[in-house]
Subunit: 743 residues, 2 copies
């Protein structure tokens, strides 16, 4: 054989061998878990698909949201009424739709304590002279548009205010704060047996009556001052339907309840079949008005306030009713009423236990079904509730329609499970969402990645407004950079937002400013009780254009589709922007391989709270009482360093080992939980998050520390200050420990 | 070319191609996560290696344990003393040994509240007549063996009993139960200002003084009756060093403290740098004796009791001191002492805050480093502490030696991380372990699979004794079936155990009986506060052979290596069996792909507790008060069905997808956590496990329900019963919910 033949044979054999190697390597799948790639290994480390995210946003239609809202707000749907029940069906139908529905949907019923006016005996506020009622407030708002009229419009009332008919001299008590009543006493007025008229704002609804009762007040009347809600406008011509301002007959309804969750079953789900010890568990009577209370419109309030006798009220107490506000007691001579007349508050509210439903929708996660991303919004309104809450429900339904379509078409399934909640009886005190967290406490605490709340989705058209805990910042920023503003498509929601609300971050420079979560909507029990990273998203006002306390039709009979369509968001483009933003956040949380929550952002907030205590009088008083902040400083340093190292470790995660990924994700998820301390605030139901608990003090530091400090200035109980400092140190250390390398 | 050549070329090419295919398929690893098997996929689903388990057990040597014990018990090592500090060094050295050590070891220091006698002013109990001490108890035990003598032997005392020198007439108050004092009052005795002598047993140490003080008793003396500890033997000839029985001079020391954890810092780690608000946090004064208290030997007790005046004590109160026990008050005429003489209790205990250390050892898990299997044992003793606790430490050191060797030789690394704890200051109230759980509450709660406690490893040679929560049963059974008994190698520890302690399980028939965990050792905060599945393992007595309350040298100066070596476990084969069993359990928990904890075993326990409430007077009283057990019955049904379905789903898990495995393991791990309710027992520090909390009632049902029921029989507060029923229903529902399919 010639060397050429040999060469040829060798080359040929080499080629054949190479072909074989290639075939063997690429064409034949490896078998067995330990040798080849098992099927799960193909999907287990898949990351967020940006093109799918874009496709989701493209599919969100403003017209669909408008259509949703028209349907949702077509009739009143106060908690547990027929209108509410019809919406339960609507939600179930949408979420069970074969083309655009979710994997499953269900109705969860709780048996909850509510309060309604008696249709047979309407509440009123009357002026009484010689046992004759010579004036009575309106029983309902004036119908100014066609879509507003409905037999089921509930008369204005103060939910949970007790029935009764107290009668007494009228006094004007400003906002019903404790300091307001104190001021009246200082002015020499004996409040015993008086009726106090107060304006909304400054103090919680229930607080106006709780405070008043402490001073001997027998009944409370509440109204909305045009100065607070209407930028001063008070005439019919300048108000709805001619503008967005509240008409003179408008009355803000509301829950007069300082707590959240079913009042009779704190910490336990109000389930009929659990036969809860209502008497034993009950806290009825605390946190709700001890005396009859009734809200009225400013048209009626004007009749009462503008006829008061007594000294002129302080300047800060004056409003826009078009007269000088006197404090009383009683009516002036030569006014509308005899100066002998009293005011009577007639309340016939009934306490009832009724079935309220949450509607829950579910999409199963493909890789981590046991990790939940939650998204919720309440369903119940006071009247038609076009804005509160149906603007949120309309957005949620559009998000679920688009996701449902992608799901049913087989184009998408999230990495993690998604749970949608349409909460019941929020208006009475966040009841549906709280009962849900009570019922599934253990499971939700172990598995929930984050909770997104969109209650009122659009207050106004100017800018996004976001509230949330620090880890939510990064995902909200990422999402808002990808959404265009309604007004000018070249500007992102992020940039527009930064123009309206911003702050200087030590880490990032000027950034949009995220607000803190109080207990104003259904996120409350998720953050305060379960310690789940939470956020609340909405479009809102340009504060240069209005000083209204809230949108003027809030909780009135004027919160209708017409109102929303003409004055809040014509074209529904702000609704669309919110749907895109919230949906983007949701998809990032559900699909990102590494959770898009930046843990190191907590450091800035902790520093901010620390700095308040570490200077001025606060620090001086601590030192004088031998309390050192050093341990807290050490803990903060430990936290910040742990968070920075953690972020470095994430960057260096080379292999996409699913258990390594899961480990860091669990650390991110559980960071918020590390701040929980169920022993920290034994007297504050459901509040256990050491950083965000409610507080009474105006010291802008850690809430327990702030309250203990303010209290110690009076009581000298510095041990309590030391205790709450220890609680904060322990929480920050726990948070650091959660982020430090596990081994 | 001939056809033969062609054939040859084709065959040759075929062979070359085949070789290539084989090479390509097997010799070249596939690259890229989506196409080939990534490196992590080779190990991520590896299961327990049974041969390695066997190899571990084979390497456990009784001689090494004996050697460990000799070293550990060579000198007294009471918490925070020099002897204790030397053992800290020993532990660190062993665990940092390059050949047989762990990945890492560290010393964690807490600054804790302890109580010691004053070496300058020894405590005593004296008989005083006309201001002359005419008799005084021994200040120390008699040295009966050489290895017992040591300058650091602490004199017998009641830790936390306050200093004082009360003097009064002596009474005999049996076991110092509330009912015992009541009985004396019924007999017409005025207890005011008396000194009560009581025997160990029946009530907790501190309770004897707490109860007595309520009746006006001024001081308490405690002794061990030979009837309770020595099967009646009281002479020197029949006691140690001639047998295992307690010599006449022996005194049981102990902590007279009803709580666990550092008394001044409940819920917070007693860390110096946290500057805890000790005064604010403190609960000193509650749970510890309000009056001076001192333990004495029965030799001295005999002098006191056998000379008492008064009526003969009830039969059940009689003991084995060799005389008739009278109740007093005071001494009889014609006895050893003038009948005018009083007894004086002289206590000079000092309250101190001292640094106590835990020594922590760590082995990093290969696949799930963020899952912890914990194993612990305290290090501190009262005196030489050969049995309590060094028999446990000797076992732990042998387990870590063998595991460390396998680790350092590269033969093994666990799937999950293993944490070893050598706890400090257990004898004063489980302090080291409790501070550890307080400091790392959040992290441990999120990541801990189980806690294994081996305190005293061998009480006696007869049989295994296990305590634990129901899920621990399956792994303990699996382990004990693989270990041979010391006595007869053909009998497994399991079968031998079943012969000694058994019960009829509705699911399995006759099985060894696992006891409940109280708060007797360091597992307490793991189970009650953190809700981590826990167990306690030891070898123990044949109850047909002795009725001793505990091994007779317990907490005395006689608990020495000689005692252990001659009377407790000659040959150390029981120690070896415990080491093999506990190590086997540990390896199964650390290495099994699916956690070897059978969740459905909780159902039997829940049924058992339910059945007590669902019959007889208990049920009749519930019905009479309109309280229905139906919701609990429904919840139990839900739990059992969820657990059965869960076990079915595990069996059907086909793919070894690591996230699917992790999901079910998290459900197993968190089952125990679902029973926690931090609101359930607001007055019981650290108790939050609804199934296992402490109780005072003797109703063998759920503890909160049992106590509320017993109390309601007196107070008629049936709302509390309803509340605790709700708490149980909520806990069982949460547990069911944890096991139900996550999506």
């Amino acid at each position: 054989m010639s060397w050429l033949k040999i060469l040829g044979a060798v080359i040929g054999a080499g080629l054949v061998l190479t072909a074989g190697i290639l075939l063997g390597h690429f064409a034949i799948p490896k078998g067995g878990a330990s040798q080849g790639a098992p099927t799960w290994a193909q999907t287990v480390s898949r990351d967020l698909d940006e093109s799918l995210l874009q496709s989701f946003m493209d599919q969100v239609e403003s017209a669909k949201i408008q259509e949703n809202l028209k349907t949702l707000a077509s009739q009143p749907h106060m908690a547990t009424t027929e209108g509410d029940k019809e919406l339960v069906k609507l939600l179930l139908n949408r979420w069970q739709d074969p083309q655009t529905g979710l994997d499953s949907a269900s109705e969860d019923v709780y048996s909850v304590f509510l309060s309604f006016p008696d249709p047979q005996s309407p509440n009123s506020v009357t002026v009484v002279d010689n046992n004759n009622a010579i004036f009575s407030t309106r029983r309902s708002e004036k119908n100014v548009t066609a879509d507003q009229a409905h037999a089921e419009v509930v008369q204005p009332y103060a939910a949970y205010a007790p029935p009764g008919n107290p009668q007494g001299r009228l006094v004007y008590a400003n906002q019903g704060k404790r300091s307001d009543y104190q001021e009246l006493v200082t002015m020499g007025i004996n409040l015993n047996g008086t009726i106090a008229i107060t304006r909304y704002g400054g103090a919680g609804r229930a607080a106006k009556a709780v405070n008043g009762a402490e001073f001997g007040v027998a009944g409370v009347v509440v109204y909305t001052d045009p100065g607070d809600i209407n930028d001063g406008q008070a005439s019919e011509e300048k108000t709805y339907p001619n503008s967005w301002y509240m008409p003179p007959s408008g009355v803000e309804r509301g829950s007069y309840n300082e707590y959240f969750g079913d009042l009779l079953t704190p910490y336990y789900p109000a389930k009929g079949n659990m036969l809860l010890g209502r008497a034993g568990q009950g806290r009825a009577g605390s946190g709700i008005p001890p005396i009859p209370t009734q809200p009225i419109g400013f048209e009626d309030a004007k009749m009462l306030i503008c006829n008061l006798a007594g000294s002129v009220a302080p300047t800060a107490w004056q409003g826009s009713l078009g007269c000088s506000y006197n404090v009383g007691p009683g009516f002036r001579t030569a006014g509308q009423f005899p100066n002998t007349s009293n005011v009577q508050v007639n309340v016939y509210n009934q306490r009832v236990i009724k079935n309220s439903s949450n509607v829950m929708g579910f999409i199963r996660g493909s890789e981590e079904p046991d990790r939940y991303v939650l998204y919720g919004n309440h369903r119940d309104s006071w009247v038609h509730g076009a804005i509160d809450p149906s603007s949120g429900t309309a957005v949620m339904l559009e998000i679920t329609r688009v996701l449902g379509k992608m799901l049913k078409e087989g184009k998408w399934r999230p990495r993690r499970s998604i749970i949608f909640g349409s909460w019941g009886a929020e208006e009475f005190g966040l009841i549906g969402s709280t009962e849900y967290t009570e019922e599934f406490y253990s499971k939700l605490r172990a598995r929930s990645v984050a909770y997104i709340n969109v209650d009122i989705s659009v207050f106004a058209n100017a800018t996004l407004r976001a509230q949330g805990t620090p880890p939510a910042q990064s995902v909200i920023f990422a999402a808002t950079k990808q959404v265009q503003t309604p007004a000018s498509p070249s500007v992102s929601v992020y940039d527009n937002w930064k123009n309206h609300f911003n702050r200087i971050s030590p880490s990032y420079g000027v950034v949009p400013s995220i607000g803190s979560l109080g207990a104003g909507s259904d996120y409350a029990s998720f953050i305060h009780y379960l310690g789940i990273t939470s956020m609340d998203l909405a479009y809102t006002y340009d504060r240069n254009k209005t000083s209204a306390r809230i949108y003027p039709a809030y909780h009135t009979a004027f919160d209708t589709f017409d109102y929303a369509n003409r004055f809040i968001d014509p074209g529904f483009t702000s609704h669309q922007a919110v749907a895109r933003t919230a949906g983007n956040v949701l998809l990032r949380l559900a699909d990102s391989l590494i959770l898009p929550l930046n843990v190191s952002d907590y450091g800035e907030k902790l520093d901010e709270l620390y700095n308040v205590a570490a200077q001025g009088d606060f620090l001086a008083n601590l030192i004088a009482n031998k309390i050192s902040l050093d341990p807290l400083k050490v803990a903060l340093g430990r936290f910040k360093s742990a968070a920075a190292d953690f972020n470095q470790r994430i960057k260096k995660l080379k292999e996409e080992d699913p258990l390594q990924i899961r480990m860091v994700n669990d650390q991110i998820m559980l960071l918020e939980r590390a701040f929980l301390n169920p022993q920290a605030f034994p007297n504050k139901y459901h509040y256990s998050h050491v950083i965000w608990a409610s507080k009474s003090s105006n010291q802008a530091t850690f809430p327990g520390l702030a309250d203990a400090y303010t209290s110690a200035l009076e009581t000298k109980d510095w041990d309590q200050v030391q205790k709450h400092l220890t609680i904060v140190v322990q929480a920050v250390d726990s948070a650091a420990s959660t982020l430090e390398a596990v081994a």
